[in-house]
Each structure stands twice: as structure tokens, then as C-alpha cells.
């Protein structure tokens, strides 16, 4: 049995670290004072035995699984049915946990026709609120600074026209603004200071930076490689659809560095992770990855990247500083999806979709040994995943 007691909450949403190494020109806009820094999640003592809990959504069975990893085995604690159209696949897709750990949030891709954002109580896993967003709401995160939730409307239906980011007050479950970005936006993440929001537009090859307070687009970065003859930066949204000579990078995810003015973007179509310098707003390095990098998350100390290679069914673990892939590990399924890292940086949790009737899984990677250490079977097409908390075992 475990003793309930949250040691750390939701690694992906807790702001940690400092902007101490910012370039001079950007520092004034980014640097909080030392006293204002959020405290990193406490690392577990070496001899402390912890259970790690994550939530993962099964997109084709309309279920959310609560998965527990005890350091050796990964098991399903609970299965939570979600949705309101029982005979249709509504597609639970993105997940996040509120910074206080009291609620988890789930985007439902398909509605009538617009998708929903659900809010659940983490103690009871009961639905406590909902709000309709746009077409195919997908990934999301809450800024601990603004207190607002930012959810991209992926909209993979029909013409690849610019879609949007929905800004939601998670207390009242009300959409308070909707900002237009690019075609098929995905990978919604907030900067450590909580004042900027990043998302990629998969079909227009762009990285967007939103002002999290004013909800306005601040900057847009073209991530596609220039076509032959080169007019890569002159395209408008959606012009790349259908292929042609242009090689689309298809950015699917972005994750800011916890302490440096950097962000890491999965270029799914280019088999790269791009390191974007947020000061100069340029791509600084490109990491050549396995096939189809899809999600990426960085350890709280900023040392390692965990990247899901969706097309090859592998997971890559990277040394950030050296830009070296430390390990490329075969996943338990052929299609990998989401990544969540524990707040102590010890483990990476990767959801795997499977194909057809093959069940999804959650793979647990030991980030000290860079190896796969456990797998839990969950529902079909496991996708969205978020870390909830650790618990100390008696």
C-alpha cells in the first residue's frame, strides 16, 4: 500500500529553474528575481521508495487510465470512462494536471462537431466541469502564473486553414479568448515563467509564441526547410499541404527548456528535434532523430530530452548539452505518442498507441540507466499522458 502524500506535482506544469543565463537583450523581459523563483520539485531521497502516478488517455476507447509505477512494475490503478456519446469515439487526446494537483484536464477531440475540455477531481476522478472549445482540442497546459489553461484546437478536418489556441479559465471552465495561429496546431506548452505560450502548427510548419497575458501572437518562426530555389519564409499558412517540392517539417510538439531561453521542437516530417533560441528566435541546433519524432519533454535539470519516435516505434533519450542521442530504445508498441517525465527526473513515461485492436501501453524509462524498465497495458490508442504525483510507500 502507499501513503498518500504528494511530493511533487505534475512535472510538465511546474515551473522550475531560472533564466539566469539569458542573453542581455532579453533578460529584462524574462528574468524573475531569485526570491521569486518557484522551487523545483523535491528529489526523492536515495533510499526513499516512491510510487509514480501518471494519467494516460486511450483515444479509441474513450477511457483514461491511472497508471502506477512502483520502481519495478507498472500497473493500472483505475480506468475512468469519459465522454458523452457512448457509441461514437470521442477521442480523449490531451491531458494536464493543475499546478495544485487537485484537478486533471482532458481534451475530447470529437464532438457535435466541436470538442470539449473536461475537468476532473484527482481524488475522486469525477467530472466536475466542462467547456466546449474548437475543432479537435488537443494538447494543453496551465500557466501557474496567469492561472489560465491554453489548449490548441488541432482541427485536422477538411481544408488546412489556420486554427487556434483556446484560452480557458480553469476555475470557471469558461473559454475567455481564442487566438488564431496556424494550420493543425499542436504541442501546447508554457514557458517556465508562465508568461509565454508555445505551440506548433503542423501543416504550416510554424512555431508560435503567444503572450500568455494578452493572448496575442508575439512571434512566429518558420520551421520548414526552404524548398529548392528557396522561398521558405514567404509562405502563408496552409500552402504546404499536398506535398510538392517543399519539404514540410511538420512540427508536432514544443517544450521549453526549464532554465535556458531555449525550446525543443519535434519536426515530425524532418526526423529532427530543433533547438530554438528564444532570444534570437532562430533554430540553433538540429538533432537528427529516429523516424517521426512526435513528443518531447526535457528533464527538470535540463540535461536530457526524451523523444517519442512515433513512426519507428522507438524512444530516443538525448544529452541536451552535447546534442548526442544516448539511447534509442524499442518501445513496447509500434506507435509511440506522448512523453511525461517525473519531477525528480528519474523516470520518463511514454504512451504507445498500438495499431488496430492492439492495446496501448505506457512504457517507463529509467533516465539514469536510459533503459526501458516497465510496461503497463492500457486502452486502445493511448496518447495524451501527464504526470500526476509521487507517493511514498509505507
Amino acid at each position: 500500500m502507499t501513503r498518500a502524500g504528494a511530493l511533487a506535482l505534475a512535472a510538465s506544469v511546474v515551473s522550475i529553474g531560472t533564466f539566469g543565463t539569458l542573453a542581455a537583450g532579453e533578460a529584462s523581459a524574462l528574468r524573475p528575481t531569485t526570491a521569486q523563483l518557484a522551487t523545483p520539485a523535491p528529489a526523492a531521497a536515495e533510499d526513499e521508495e516512491l510510487d509514480y502516478l501518471v494519467y494516460v488517455a486511450a483515444e479509441s476507447t474513450d477511457e483514461v487510465y491511472k497508471v502506477r509505477f512502483d520502481g519495478e512494475k507498472a500497473t493500472v490503478d483505475k480506468v475512468i470512462p469519459v465522454g458523452y456519446q457512448p457509441t461514437e469515439i470521442e477521442g480523449p487526446h490531451g491531458m494536464t494536471v493543475s499546478p495544485d494537483g487537485r484537478h486533471w484536464f482532458l481534451s475530447m477531440a470529437h464532438g457535435k462537431p466541436f470538442g470539449l475540455l473536461y475537468k476532473f477531481d484527482t481524488e475522486t476522478d469525477e467530472l466536475v466541469g466542462q467547456v466546449e472549445l474548437g475543432l479537435f482540442p488537443a494538447t494543453m497546459q496551465i500557466s501557474r502564473t496567469t492561472g489560465l489553461l491554453y489548449c490548441v484546437n488541432f482541427d485536422l478536418h477538411g481544408d488546412m486553414t489556420p486554427s487556434s489556441v483556446s484560452i480557458v479559465d480553469p476555475d470557471a471552465m469558461v473559454e475567455v479568448a481564442r487566438t488564431t495561429t496556424g494550420a493543425m496546431p499542436h504541442g501546447s506548452r508554457v514557458s517556465p515563467d508562465g508568461l509565454r505560450h508555445y505551440s506548433c502548427s503542423m501543416m504550416s510548419g510554424e512555431l508560435f509564441e503567444l503572450d500568455a497575458a494578452s493572448f496575442e501572437v508575439r512571434r512566429t518562426l518558420k520551421l520548414d526547410e526552404a524548398p529548392e530555389g528557396g522561398h521558405g519564409d514567404s509562405k502563408r499558412h496552409g500552402e504546404d499541404r499536398g506535398g510538392g517540392k517543399h519539404r514540410s517539417s511538420k512540427p508536432t510538439w514544443v517544450h521549453p527548456h526549464p532554465s535556458e531561453p531555449l525550446a525543443y521542437v519535434c519536426l515530425n516530417g524532418a526526423d529532427q528535434v530543433a533547438e530554438v533560441d528564444l532570444t534570437t528566435w532562430t533554430v540553433r541546433r538540429r538533432f537528427q532523430t529516429g523516424h517521426g519524432p512526435y513528443n518531447v519533454e526535457i528533464t527538470p535539470d535540463g540535461a536530457k530530452l526524451v523523444v517519442s519516435y512515433k513512426a519507428s516505434g522507438e524512444v530516443g533519450i538525448w544529452d541536451v548539452e552535447r546534442g548526442v542521442e544516448l539511447a534509442r530504445i524499442r518501445s513496447s508498441r509500434r506507435v509511440t505518442h506522448g512523453v511525461a517525465i517525473s519531477p525528480d527526473g528519474r523516470y520518463g513515461f511514454v504512451s504507445n498507441e498500438g495499431i488496430g485492436g492492439e492495446s496501448g501501453t505506457v512504457d517507463v524509462f529509467d533516465l539514469r540507466k536510459d533503459e526501458l524498465v516497465a510496461t503497463a497495458e492500457v486502452g486502445l490508442q493511448a496518447g495524451g499522458i501527464t504526470f500526476w504525483r509521487t507517493e511514498t510507500r509505507d
Binding site: 521569486q36 470529437h110 481544408d159 480553469p170 488496430g356
Partner: protein, 664 residues
């Protein structure tokens, strides 16, 4: 702008950070916001005064201090919003909340909630509606009064009382019923909130002195719609036109043991009995009354539904089915699977008592919700949802040899949100896209399908669930938007697959519209769209326990396409409808937990067909090892060559037949 209610600065500390935020190590900012309460008229604006203070009480200049920002947002944007930031703009009447938050310094910010009341526009007038020019003594009319404000909005929340002048020529009750009492001029008044309206009408002596009431028959069956004819005659015996005659009825059912209401009469004289017995229809106008009686016999259409065969699917849920005569003249069926591994199952059903599974096609999907076969039996199309690459779309198969179905092509372009239902009609596939529209895809060359058209409603938040095509008209089911008729070549409005033209629509309040099937009754020549619901008010259970859906079948008379009227229903108590089929004058319904139902829909239709004894038969499919054991969950029926095939979500493909009627 009205005076502000409160100009006292509101000092808010971190006692009230936004919920969902932790407070660890966060520096304390406080906010001063003036005013706290706001009252505005529509389109008024108000600049807030906002100050951010640090822990020492010093003001923080958010434009100059690193990492501190003010966030303005509204929780009720239809009432008030910030535009530009810091300025409240009133958008519409009501009470709402806007929020100012000091965000920054890496921690949760202080929040101030401001109550905004936007006043309703001033009241403008009272409208008295439906006042007759002439009211005959001894007859009744319904009137209403509505308050309207200066924005033209109806203010139904304010009740308006009506009263009559002192002439005594009529009476009015609190429900707005006017009754003529004596000849004379009448004034009708309505007053509220200082506004007053009046209308006048004339009460005229009712010329009717007697009524001739004729029943169409003395003996009928329950469920028969009987048109009673009433003629009012004056003192001289001449027919009187234009004077209302009211209809009611007395019931004397055979079953006197607590029988409920047993019939229905319309004010055009149509009557239908639900239970056997003697009924007397009463026609009245002024002081004249007439009665005519009819005996309703039991409808006696019930027949036993006989089990014939079962193609078991016990490990996964089964979705839709299609049964067809193959190119080789044998009979085949295809069924989909739900929430599983993307299989479509093919069956030889030539001998319905010995259903044989002959092939399996697996596609990249979790749910193959719909399966259809072309009229010539050569092409099968599968819908896909939950594809691992999220492209979904449709899969087109060659089923000339159903034992060896061959995938000819897939079509996913703009169908990536999932295809829930589809239909094949004259070399085109009508495929739903992301529950938003249907695309029309040419499959003359099934190996190279291409889109030729698309139909999408323009209503706010529209959604679609199913489409069925017959005689060049597409009938779609659209949840809240109800059923929609679209000319795709046979509607006479210039429509075609590449130019679909909307012909008509009808929506009902529940928003449960899930299926639709056209039906023209040969006896009356009335044209109906028969619409089915789908609803799970008590949830759906995919394993371990049964599900109890709800919903019924709606009969919408579309004989006048411009004025469709919902005239009847078929509602099995405590069960829920799914798919349906009509052949000849029988309706077949997959009634989920109510199993298979067969209903007599011959002749004119009015009221609740279930209560009228029009149900012909039923069959509850169960299997002790079903996906949910012993739980009927019938998905969809299809009559074929004298048998009824149907798929059941928990147990697979079934065949039954109606036992022949036995002559006494």
C-alpha cells in the same frame, strides 16, 4: 453610464489566488481595482483603475518591472468583455463576472473578480397576439401578450396579465383563453411595468343551431385514424362555414381495470383509439352538440417472431450490417465491429438458419461503424474511426467474391476526423466527415475515388450523424438540426452529387435525431420521414452490465415539404431506438435494449403507435457469453427475402422471421 455602485478600492491579497495554482514560494502581489461593482448599459465602456502592489505595499509598475503582467478576461463574454485590456465593454444584458489578475514573478497571481451588471434595454411595448377579428358565442380562441424591449427582445420572464372591458361579451382566463358569451364589441387590455396595450374584437352570435356529426365507420381497429365530419347548420338548416367546431371524446374501453387515457382527437376531427372499446366523439359549437360513436376492435396484427439463425460475434462489439444478393446469386452479409481491431466480417446467409462466417477484412481502425454494399453487389465500403494514423476515411472493397474481398482503395482526404456513417448510391459514396458534413465521392472507378461535392448545414454548431439516399434525395440526421432533405439528383431542384441543394428540414426539441428513413404510404399517399433517436441518459456500458438507452421513432409528415408536421411516434417504454428500416408497410427498428421491433405503419398515422397496438412483433437477442452477457442491444435491422437480419452490439448477426398469420 449609470453611477458606479461602489468606488471603494478593493484590496485583494493572495488569499484568493486562482484555483488550480499552488502557492509555494510565490511572492505576494496585491491588487487594487476600482470599481468593485459595475453597472452599465449595453455598449457602454468603463476604464478600470488598477494598481499592483508588492509585499511592502509599494506600487509595481507593470510596464517596467520584469515578469509582471496584468491579465484581463471575462467569464461572461456575451455580457461584458475587456476591449481594449482594462476597459470593460458591455455586450449584452445580464449579470457577469470579469477578472483582473496580476500575473508574474513565477507564481500564482492575485485575482479580483468584478461583478458587472448590464441593464436590459428599456421596455418598449406590449404585443397582444392572435386576437381574432370575430369570436362566435360559445366558441373559444387563444390569445397571448408579450412584453418587448427597445432592442426588440421578447421579455418572456415578465408575465403580462390580460383583462377584458366591461361589455360582458366575452371572458378571458389566466391562460389566455377567450370565450364568446354574447354579441357585442370587446376590448382586451394588457398592462405591465407602466405599459399598456389593447386590442378589440367583435363577439358575434353563433349561427349554428345544430351539428351533424358523421363517423367514417362504426367499427374500426385501434390505431386506425378516423376522420369524423362535422357540419354546423343554421336555423334554416343551411351549412355554416367559418365557425369553429370543437371536438372531444368519451371513452368506454373494454378494459375497465385502471386503464389509462385511451385515445386522441384532433381539432380537425381526426380520432384514433389506443385501446379496444367504444368511443363517442363529441362535436360542439355554441349551444349545439352532436355525438357519434365507434367501436374500436383490437388491431390484432401481432405475430410471433421466430428465431432462425445466429452468427455469433461474442468477443467484440458488432456495429452495422448490410445484407445483399451476391453476383453469384447467393446471399451475403457484412457486419462491422466497434471498439475493437478494425475488422469487417463477411457472412454467407443463403441459409438463414446456418449463417456462416466466410471472410474477415481488417483495416487500420478501432471501429468499423458502417458497412454498405452497392446495389449491384460488387462494391463494399467500410467507414473507419480510430485509425492509428488518424487519417480514418473510407475503405473500398471488391466483393464480387465475398469469400475473398479485396481492398481496392482507401480515401481519407478531408475525412480524417473519422467517418461514422456512409451510404452508396449510384456510383457515389456519401460519407460523413468529422460529424460536421457529408462528402460525396465518385466511385465509378472504385480504385480511384474522388470527391465531387459536399453538403454542410450553416446553422451554428451544426452536427451530423447519418445519411441515407433514396430516389436522388439524401436524408440526413443531424442531432439538434433534425432531419434534412437534400436534392442530389432526384429532388427536382437542380441538385446533383456535385451540387447538393437543400430541400427542407425539420428539427425536434430533444436534439436526439440519429437516423432517418423516407416512407410514402400507398394508401394515403402521405410522405413521411421516419426519424429515430439515440440517447444514453444513463450511460453506456461496454462490458459487464447492460445499458438502458432511451428515445423513440418520430413520424414527420413531409407531404407539404414547406410545412412538415410531426404527427405520430412509436415509443417502447424504457428502451432506446437506434437504426431502422422500412419495407412495404412494416417498420423494423433496432431498439437497443428493446431488441428487434416490427411495427405496422399502414394507413394514416396519428399518436403513439405502440399504445395503439400497432406493434407486430419483437425479438430479444441474448447470449450468455455475449460481449455483455444476456443483454440485448440491437443495432440495426434489414429485411431480406422473407427474413429479418439484424446486428446486435453484444452478440453478432441474427436472422429471424415473422411467423405466417394463421387464419382462424
Amino acid at each position: 453610464m449609470k453611477p458606479l455602485l461602489c468606488l471603494v478600492a478593493l484590496l485583494v491579497s493572495l488569499a484568493g489566488p486562482a484555483a488550480g495554482q499552488d502557492e509555494e514560494a510565490a511572492p505576494k502581489l496585491t491588487l487594487e481595482v476600482v470599481p468593485q461593482d459595475v453597472e452599465l448599459d449595453v455598449f457602454d465602456q468603463l476604464q478600470l483603475e488598477v494598481r499592483v502592489l508588492d509585499e511592502s505595499g509599494a506600487e509595481v509598475d507593470v510596464d517596467k518591472v520584469d515578469g509582471v503582467r496584468l491579465v484581463y478576461f471575462s467569464r461572461d463574454r456575451e455580457i461584458a468583455d475587456f476591449s481594449p485590456p482594462g476597459v470593460i465593454t458591455a455586450k449584452g444584458p445580464g449579470e457577469g463576472t470579469v477578472v483582473v489578475r496580476a500575473a508574474g514573478l513565477g507564481g500564482p497571481g492575485a485575482s479580483v473578480k468584478i461583478a458587472v451588471r448590464v441593464a436590459f434595454p428599456p421596455l418598449d411595448r406590449i404585443e397582444i397576439r392572435d386576437v381574432p377579428e370575430v369570436l362566435y358565442t360559445g366558441t373559444r380562441a387563444s390569445v397571448s401578450a408579450m412584453l418587448v424591449d427597445k432592442a426588440g427582445l421578447e421579455r418572456a420572464e415578465v408575465p403580462v396579465q390580460m383583462a377584458l372591458g366591461s361589455s360582458g361579451a366575452a371572458t378571458v382566463d389566466s391562460l389566455g383563453h377567450l370565450t364568446g358569451v354574447a354579441a357585442g364589441r370587446c376590448e382586451l387590455f394588457a398592462e405591465v411595468e407602466g405599459l399598456r396595450a389593447q386590442a378589440a374584437f367583435e363577439v358575434v352570435e353563433n349561427p349554428i343551431r345544430r351539428i351533424e356529426l358523421t363517423a367514417p365507420t362504426e367499427r374500426a381497429q385501434t390505431g386506425d385514424v378516423l376522420q369524423f365530419e362535422a357540419i354546423g347548420r343554421d336555423e334554416a338548416g343551411k351549412p355554416v362555414e367559418g365557425v369553429p367546431i370543437h371536438f372531444s371524446f368519451e371513452a368506454h374501453p373494454d378494459d375497465t381495470l385502471g386503464q389509462a387515457a385511451t385515445g386522441q382527437v384532433e381539432q380537425d376531427g381526426r380520432f384514433v383509439a389506443e385501446a379496444p372499446g367504444v368511443y363517442t366523439v363529441v362535436a360542439s359549437s355554441g349551444g349545439a352538440t352532436a355525438r357519434a360513436s365507434v367501436r374500436a376492435e383490437p388491431r390484432d396484427v401481432q405475430r410471433e417472431v421466430e428465431f432462425i439463425g445466429h452468427g455469433e460475434v461474442l468477443d467484440v462489439h458488432t456495429s452495422d450490417l448490410w445484407v445483399w444478393e451476391g453476383v453469384d446469386k447467393r446471399d451475403y452479409a457484412v457486419t462491422g465491429t466497434w471498439g475493437a481491431d478494425g475488422d469487417a466480417l463477411f457472412w454467407d446467409v443463403t441459409d438463414p438458419a446456418d449463417i456462416q462466417r466466410i471472410a474477415n477484412v481488417r483495416v487500420d481502425a478501432r471501429t468499423v461503424n458502417d458497412v454498405k454494399v452497392s446495389a449491384d453487389g460488387r462494391i463494399c465500403v467500410l467507414s473507419r474511426e480510430g485509425a492509428s494514423n488518424r487519417k480514418n476515411g473510407i475503405v473500398i472493397l471488391d466483393v464480387v467474391d465475398p469469400r475473398n474481398p479485396k481492398i481496392l482503395s482507401t480515401f481519407t482526404d478531408e475525412l480524417t476526423g473519422g467517418v461514422h456513417n456512409l451510404f452508396i448510391y449510384e456510383d457515389h459514396v456519401y460519407a460523413l466527415s468529422a460529424a460536421r458534413r457529408y462528402d460525396i465521392i465518385n466511385i465509378e472507378d472504385p480504385a480511384q475515388p474522388y470527391r465531387v461535392g459536399s453538403f454542410e448545414l450553416e446553422t451554428p454548431n451544426h452536427s451530423i450523424h447519418d445519411v441515407w439516399v433514396e430516389n436522388g434525395i439524401a436524408y440526413s440526421s443531424n442531432w439538434r438540426d433534425g432531419v434534412v432533405m437534400v436534392d442530389v439528383g432526384g429532388g427536382g431542384m437542380g441538385g446533383s452529387p456535385s451540387n447538393p441543394v437543400q430541400m427542407g428540414s425539420y428539427a425536434y426539441p430533444s436534439g436526439w435525431n440519429h437516423a432517418a428513413f423516407p416512407y410514402r404510404d400507398p394508401e394515403t399517399d402521405k410522405f413521411y420521414i421516419v426519424a429515430g433517436d439515440e440517447a444514453f441518459p444513463f450511460g453506456l456500458y461496454t462490458s459487464e452490465r447492460p445499458t438502458y438507452p432511451r428515445g423513440w421513432i418520430h413520424f414527420i409528415d413531409f407531404s407539404d415539404r414547406e410545412n412538415p408536421e410531426e404527427v405520430a411516434r412509436y415509443q417502447v417504454p424504457e428502451a432506446g431506438t437506434h437504426n431502422l428500416w422500412i419495407e412495404d408497410d412494416l417498420l423494423y427498428v433496432g431498439y437497443y435494449n428493446g431488441g428487434l421491433r416490427v411495427v405496422d405503419i399502414s394507413g394514416d398515422l396519428l399518436g403513439d403507435l405502440y399504445r395503439q397496438g400497432r406493434e407486430v412483433g419483437w425479438f430479444l437477442p441474448t447470449h450468455h457469453e455475449g460481449k455483455v452477457p444476456n443483454a440485448p442491444m440491437t443495432w440495426g435491422p434489414q429485411p431480406h427475402k422473407g427474413h429479418i437480419f439484424f446486428s446486435d452490439w453484444n452478440s453478432g448477426l441474427w436472422s429471424v422471421r415473422l411467423k405466417p398469420e394463421v387464419e382462424e
